[in-house]
Amino acid sequence: MLRFVARRTLQAVLVVWGVSTVVFLLLRLSGDPTLLMVPPGAPAEAIDRLRHQLGFDQPLPVQYVQFLVGLLRADLGDSLVQSRPALAIVLERLPATLLLGGAALLLALVVALPLGVASALYRDTWVERGGLLVALLGQAIPPFWLGLMLILLLSVRTPLLPSSGTGSWQHLVLPAVTLGSLTMAGAARMTRVAVLEQLGQDYVRTARAKGIAPLGIVVRHLLRNAAIPVVTIVAIDVANLLGGAVVTETIFAWPGIGRLVIDAISARDYPVVQATVLVGSVVFVLSSLAADVAYGLIDPRVRTR
């Protein structure tokens, strides 16, 4: 088990190194990153000074080594707007995004798991058709439009819930529903397929032959086995939640890293943009790692893979 965890941790470190390389190259896609960071019409001397100050006048390999050395010291450069470390700014905003993402995930699972199990068990009934419809709609409605419609109906027309800001659980409801809708639909579909696959297994027939009631089979045997593919999908979906936060936080003025990246882009504060992409990826890599280690604990077959 220890070797399994060590191997997966090493892989995660390599992936983070790869991500940081992508982030490094991304800023240099445009040719001259200095021009991205100055306002249009800035004088040439000011541009040259900034280029020198940020080290963009060095050869690319030198810049890359400096970037990696900085990374090892948790230094991703300073924000051009706030004149303090970009990483610190992103980390201050991270808890708000984690809270929103966590609430969205929880909400999605609370709806999706019963829906998925029920539509697998009650096949060819209105339960299945209803579940299918909810999942289909959940995957087709763009989250930001859902958010706007929720604001229109529940904040503007009937003032039940606040449309923006933070501070109470009421502030969390609309953004969490908005952000969680896609995850909910995906998880419901996945749960249904996973339960259907388990229904065909021999152990289910054996349990039935022993006379265990259907509900008992579901609770005691089926869910445990169906959990692994569902957990996989949910762990992968953390990336979608982090990406979706960009849009959701913009709509609801939620002070997380998603809104930070949009603000940083309009302020041409690229060190903060870089830091946000990197931190978002590290959060995702860590959650995948945690999911993998969890399977290793649940299912010994995973460890030998």
Partner: protein, 282 residues
């Protein structure tokens, strides 16, 4: 939800919806009935069904007095073009990476597939947003950002399929009679790998439409005054309290189109994937 072939109607429905939206996009000059950028400041924020200057504003007007129906009709061109071309670009990149990695294996294959892991580890929208921000928001850069970031699924599927296909006897036989690598890949491997990749592409179409609208909504896509569904939603956001129709109709348009694309995608998958059979029930 797809353990067995879905009854045909949903698939047909999806394809019909997509065909209708495509028709709308192709005939926008005629079906819109009005210019999407013509402003009539006297007829600002008029509700659906308003008649002004002898023109019926079926879905109302926006804050500059532009016809919302006309903007939706022309906006469908942006949505379908960006999504379609971006799917094509990511399909080509991902298929090339996946098939080359699966065919060559070895160090090249390992390096390519680790690259896939890296790109997959970056939350997609975050990467797409940052890419457009660096390249500058425009129609072409929107396609580039979506296409160049979204190829990983094709690479994974293409890799797995190529690994199994290259071991089949007919491939080994072709190799034994002296077929070149290029011929092996193009004539023998690609035709067998393609169906799975087509399934991925059809399922990606709906997602791409949502991603395009998300970026335009954030101001990083198609720029005003050109109409795009995401951009219209972003404008409508400021008038939620006074003019509900601004944000409502473009969202409907996106939802219906994505629903059609997803239903058509599920249908294609059920038709092309023979492994999905009947299962028992309790």
């Amino acid at each position: 939800m797809n353990a067995r072939p879905r009854p045909v109607p949903t698939g047909i429905f999806g394809i019909a919806v997509l065909a209708l939206v495509a028709l709308l996009a192709l005939t926008a000059d005629w079906s819109a009935g009005y210019s999407p950028t013509h402003q009539d400041l006297v007829a600002r924020l008029q509700p659906p069904g308003t008649v002004a200057d002898g023109h019926l504003y079926r879905l109302g007007t926006d804050s500059l007095g532009r016809d919302i129906w006309a903007r939706i009709a022309y906006g469908s061109r942006v949505s379908l073009t960006v999504a379609g071309v971006a799917v094509g670009v990511s399909f080509l990149i991902g298929t090339t990476v996946g098939v080359v990695a699966g065919f060559r294996r070895g160090i090249l294959g390992a390096v390519l597939m680790r690259m896939v892991d890296v790109v997959l580890a970056i939350p997609f929208l975050l990467l797409a947003v940052a890419t457009v921000a660096v390249l500058g928001p425009s129609f072409a850069n929107l396609i580039l950002a979506l296409g160049f970031v979204r190829w990983t699924r094709y690479a994974r599927v293409g890799y797995a399929q190529t690994l199994s296909t290259r071991e089949f006897e007919f491939v080994q036989a072709a190799r034994a009679v002296g077929a070149t690598d290029a011929r092996l890949v193009l004539r023998h491997i690609l035709p067998n790998v393609a169906p799975a990749l087509v399934v991925v592409a059809t399922l990606e179409m709906g997602l791409m439409i949502i991603f395009e609208a998300s970026l335009s909504f954030l101001g990083l896509g198609v720029q005003p005054p050109d109409p795009s569904w995401g951009g219209m939603l972003s404008e409508g956001r400021n008038y939620l309290a006074d003019a509900w129709w601004l944000a409502t109709f473009p969202g409907f348009a996106i939802t219906i189109t994505v629903l059609g694309a997803n239903m058509a995608g599920d249908y294609v998958r059920d038709r092309l994937d023979p492994r999905r059979g009947e299962v028992a029930r309790i």
